[in-house]
């Protein structure tokens, strides 16, 4: 199939994010997927460069091969073609046991160490806005070797310090004291890695495992490193930018729109001008 890159007018931002996320997956990996764009990204990887990846849905579907995109991890479509339809105890036990290579997650806020908040905006004890809560975000992030966050980029979301650490980044709190330590010091046998990338609507960010700090890796077309730095409340490291985020290929766009999400449940189709 046509592996040429598509032209800018042929795809939208959601397509770009989906393809960038898909390329984080390597073949044969065991991937823990949430609902929405991550699921499209993983299934895209399955159709293209990672045919042997194994998909786990938090609700209990193990090595799933849904024929159509499920709209939720509890969806009946998850069960079809799976190795097992089971429950949460299996899904989380498998994760804690160390089987999971990669998890895709989202967040409302992220800080420079990859700590993510999905719990509340403002003081936890008197929040401005209560959000959905953690879900499995901290669990997948605790147990997987790598996690990738997909986020809408607004300056208030790329914050100096998240209101509430829902999901552990590279430098976390050592409770009950609360002093900041490297994740490695806290996790012991469960230390297998941590957040490896944030894919925002402006660019792709990665982390330095030692310092635990985020840096800009690639900019999506039309954004400069400096512009992206201005869109962060913390001082973004732009010294390691490797170039522009690669656009979707025609093959990828075909799979997204003709095979995986023809109903445009998660990814709208760019209308020809």
């Amino acid at each position: 199939m046509n592996k040429e890159f598509a032209k800018p007018e042929e795809y939208g931002l959601a397509d770009l994010l989906c393809c960038a996320a898909s390329r984080e997956v390597q073949d044969n990996e065991i991937v823990f997927a949430g609902t929405g764009l991550p699921m499209v990204a993983i299934m895209l990887a399955q159709k293209t460069h990672a045919p042997n990846l194994k998909l786990i849905f938090e609700a209990g579907t193990l090595d799933g091969r849904p024929p159509e995109i499920p709209t939720s991890v509890g969806d009946a479509r998850c069960e079809m073609g799976a190795s097992r339809s089971s429950g949460l105890h299996d899904a989380f036990s498998i994760a804690q046991r160390g089987y999971v290579d990669l998890g895709f997650l989202g967040g409302a806020e992220v800080d420079q160490y990859g700590n993510v908040n999905t719990t509340c905006i403002g003081d936890y004890l008197s929040p401005e806005l209560r959000l959905t809560g953690s879900g499995g975000n901290p669990d997948i992030n605790s147990f997987a070797k790598r996690t990738v966050f997909i986020m809408v980029h607004e300056k208030r979301r790329f914050t100096e310090q998240v209101s509430y650490i829902t999901s552990p980044g590279w430098r976390v709190r050592n409770w009950p004291g609360g002093e900041t330590v490297h994740r490695r010091e806290l996790y012991g046998a469960a230390y297998r890695g941590g957040p490896s990338a944030v894919i925002s609507t402006l660019g792709v960010f990665r982390f330095d495992e030692e310092s635990g700090r985020i840096y800009l890796d690639t900019c999506h077309a039309g954004n400069t490193p400096e512009q992206i730095r201005d869109m962060c409340q913390f001082d973004l490291d732009i010294s390691r930018v490797s170039g522009e985020t690669l656009p979707p290929t025609r093959e990828e766009l075909h799979y997204i729109h003709e095979v995986l999400d023809p109903e445009q449940i998660f990814i709208p189709k760019v209308k020809p001008v």
């Binding site: 938090e58 009946a76 999901s167 046998a189």
Partner: protein
Amino acid sequence: MSSGKRITLQQAAEIVKNGSSLTFSGFTIWRRPFALVYELIRQRRKGLHLIEVNGGPQTEFLVGAGCVDIWESCWVGHELYGKYGANLSRKVGNKEILVEDYSHAEMLFRFSAAASGAPYAVTQTSLGTDIHNPAYDTLGNAGLRDGRRIPLHKYRFTEDPFFGAGAQVMVPAAKVDVAILCVQQVGEEGTVRVNGQFYSDPEVARAADVTIVMAEEIVPEEYLRRDSDLNTITSFEVDHILEVPFGAHPTGMFGRYDVDGAFLKDFYGRTRTQEGFDDFAKEWIHGLDHLGYLEKLGWPKMLNLKANTALKYSTGVKRGQ
């Protein structure tokens, strides 16, 4: 053999008292015991303590209706049909409800511990997060930790003495008064067969002191016992049973019917305010019984939601809408 476990929807709701702690079957927007949730709202139950592996529309309905004083869980929303729990969020903002946050795996391990009669589980999840921040112990801050239903501590830290695996979080067993399950089939003596993912249903059934099972069908016990390795929950773990077709609506049931996304979207859109919730409840809950509710939903909608028996999901639903 009849076991005398069969009760009505009204009787089932009466088992849940003001102040009871309560949990449910299902996952987010799937297999939630809605017919009974509606009945609890009709009976104007108060002061409930929900302890849920994860929340969903059932949380939002009960919270919106003012039935809930404490919510202990990890997540609430309507997935694709409403991205957060607007009723819970409003009540948190107004300090009308206490929320105790754990992670999803912690909640699951808490129920697993309770289900196996252990007082707690050890895990390495969520280390270093604010879930473990001692200042954020809501039930402790409220002086409610009595060591009976509510454990003396939200969590404790320890170290693995066996393999040097490092820091461990001890999370207390999730003990609840009543579990309400919504499943495809239950036998006359209580044996449950769940089709598809069983989520955390086996754990919550066993963690509770009283377990009520609502099923699409009550089937002959002998039918289920012919293939005992296909069953999900044991007869004697179930105290009461009732047959309530389409009882999970607006949530979905594997192999039977899909999620009614349009209904959930309407709920989510209309219940940002208390007035909006009250209006919705007046339209869809109060003054109706379960059959009246189904009549009001109507045949075209229900036939459209009905799952294709080969595929196990509806081919008629326009998804994401």
